[in-house]
């Protein structure tokens, strides 16, 4: 009994530690001071500054747009890739595809960023929204493939034959039989791609150029200049945003498993 208690204390301690920096930021976002040393007076002024900061708001919206667009495209190409891999009967070919797929998963971000920078310069693609979007699509595809593949492995291919026997066209086989069966994997892949994109700093930093900036890059350049409580206010907003996103994700996935269970019964 005593051992369990100690383990609970340890667990709680680490959990508190995990959240301490986040709540530290949120706490000082309401302080009227200029640093995170002691709390002066309660104020919303940093939030006012934040909502009047058009540059930051534009970057915030662009970051979200970038994340949604890149994960959508990455999900499509990644799902295609997963289907292509699962249909590759040649064992060696499949292994090669999978190995190449994992290259970007195991590469350090600086290498990905640097090599993409060389690549874009080589092709003469200007640095900006386009190059960042292409990079985000590129590094999100492998995780989508990895999320969709297990679902395809479970997929019963005799269903395809059955659909064909019943007169389904190729398009119908995919849209009505296969895609619905692997949707949970596709959704998981989409959300992973979304978090990859929202969270990325290192790759974006290399390929962003001067005109375009994402939230991570902007926070970095501001944080290098020292403490600015507007960033604290921003982190409160981001925290709430993330909570909403997580909630949506859990509602969707729980809903799906519910449907799945209902069918099984």
């Amino acid at each position: 009994m005593k051992r369990i208690k100690w383990s609970r204390i340890y667990f709680g301690f680490i959990l508190v530690l995990m959240y301490l920096p986040i709540f530290y930021l949120i706490y000082y976002s309401f302080s009227s001071g200029h640093n995170m040393d002691h709390f002066e007076k309660f104020t919303f002024s940093h939030y006012q500054d934040l909502f009047n900061d058009n540059r930051l708001l534009a970057i915030f919206l662009e970051t979200i747009l970038l994340a949604l667009l890149s994960s959508l495209i990455a999900t499509i190409i990644g799902t295609f890739g997963a289907i292509a891999i699962s249909q590759t009967k040649n064992k060696k070919g499949r292994k090669t595809l999978l190995a190449l797929n994992n290259v970007l998963m195991v590469s350090p971000d600086v290498i990905i960023g640097a090599s993409f920078l060389i690549f874009f310069t080589f092709l003469g693609i200007g640095l900006g929204f386009g190059s960042v979007l292409l990079s985000h699509i590129a590094f999100s595809i492998p995780i989508v493939v990895l999320m969709v593949l297990p679902r395809l492995k479970e997929f019963d291919y005799s269903l395809v034959d059955a659909a064909r026997d019943l007169g389904a066209s190729t398009w119908q086989v995919y849209s009505k039989v296969m895609i619905p069966a692997i949707t949970p994997g596709i959704l998981a892949g989409f959300f992973m791609a979304l978090t990859y994109s929202l969270d990325d700093f290192a790759v974006t930093f290399f390929v962003t150029g001067n005109g375009f900036s994402t939230l991570s890059v902007e926070i970095y350049s501001r944080a290098r200049q020292g403490i600015n409580l507007e960033i604290n206010a921003l982190s409160t907003i981001m925290f709430i945003f993330v909570m909403i996103l997580v909630l949506i994700y859990y509602v969707i996935t729980n809903h799906k498993t519910h449907i799945g269970k209902g069918r099984a019964q």
Binding site: F11, L15, M36, G81, S216, I219, M238
Partner: protein, 270 residues
């Protein structure tokens, strides 16, 4: 069916060749590019000039320390989590901070570690005068470990959950002590999770140049920092590419090493 297969394969292969194969080839070409054509000068500089070798050793040492600390903290957490009620909820609580932007968390530590920040206020209670914490190796390793912990917990937790509880029970029934059960049963069976956790932490630890800048105050120089500097500040792309290629080769070696190791173990088990 053949046609539809090509339809799925083409965009994917296009991505593979453009964003996986082409960049690797280009960075390799760049590494060998001098003012007039092919040169080995960069590699010569890397291996003869001691600073680069020291830096490489340094970054692997830091990455090793970060991985070790993360593992020591995370393994017990993963185990405790696997024994709890409402595991999904607690797991979510652990993963949630990873969705908060990494830069925001690093920024928080600038405040926490500052001269009159939270940690120094806490240390004051014990009569330790304001210590310089920010811009030290300790600060860098601490923040890096903080950021990587959830990525270590998750795979280990999954591996522990896959273990049949009856196996642990059997070990106890056969008279094994807690320590013996851990060493002989729990650890070997959760080793795959530990391995993927190490991979998930070690590699990103090499490229945390933003932390070396914000928290390490340019005192900690890793390979990632050097690559960033050569590409973004001094604009010496070929030297930056050289460091990149060395890093890639080192990682391939490490991975070949660990994967062959993996196979051997599987064979023994069979």
């Amino acid at each position: 069916m053949k046609k539809s297969k090509l339809f799925f394969l083409i965009p994917y292969v296009l991505w593979l060749s453009l964003f996986v194969i082409a960049p690797i080839i280009l960075i390799t070409i760049n590494a060998f590019k001098g003012e007039d054509g092919f040169t080995l000068k960069n590699f010569q500089q890397f291996f003869v000039n001691g600073t680069f070798l020291r830096m490489t050793l340094n970054s692997f040492w830091y990455a090793f320390l970060i991985t070790l600390i993360t593992l020591l903290i995370s393994y017990p957490i993963a185990y405790i989590l696997s024994q709890m009620k409402n595991q999904q909820f607690w797991l979510l609580l652990i993963i949630l901070p990873t969705w908060i932007n990494l830069l925001l968390k690093a920024y928080a530590f600038i405040g926490i570690f500052s001269k009159h920040g939270l940690l120094n206020n806490f240390l004051k209670l014990f009569g330790i005068a304001p210590a310089n914490i920010l811009f030290t190796d300790f600060a860098f390793i601490f923040v890096a470990a903080y950021i990587e912990i959830p990525f270590m917990i998750l795979p280990i937790y999954n591996a522990i959950c896959d273990i049949n509880p009856a196996v642990i029970q059997a070990a106890y029934d056969l008279g094994a002590s807690k320590w013996q059960t851990f060493i002989k049963v729990l650890w070997p069976l959760s080793k795959s999770g530990v391995e993927s956790g190490i991979q998930a932490v070690f590699i990103p630890s090499l490229s945390l140049f933003m932390l070396t800048r914000l928290i390490g105050g340019n005192r900690v120089i890793t390979l990632g920092t050097a690559i960033e500097e050569y590409f973004m500040t001094t604009m010496n792309w070929s030297m930056g590419s050289t460091i990149g290629v060395v890093l890639i080769v080192l990682m391939v070696i490490v991975m070949l090493f660990t994967s062959s190791d993996h196979h051997k173990k599987k064979e023994i088990k069979l």
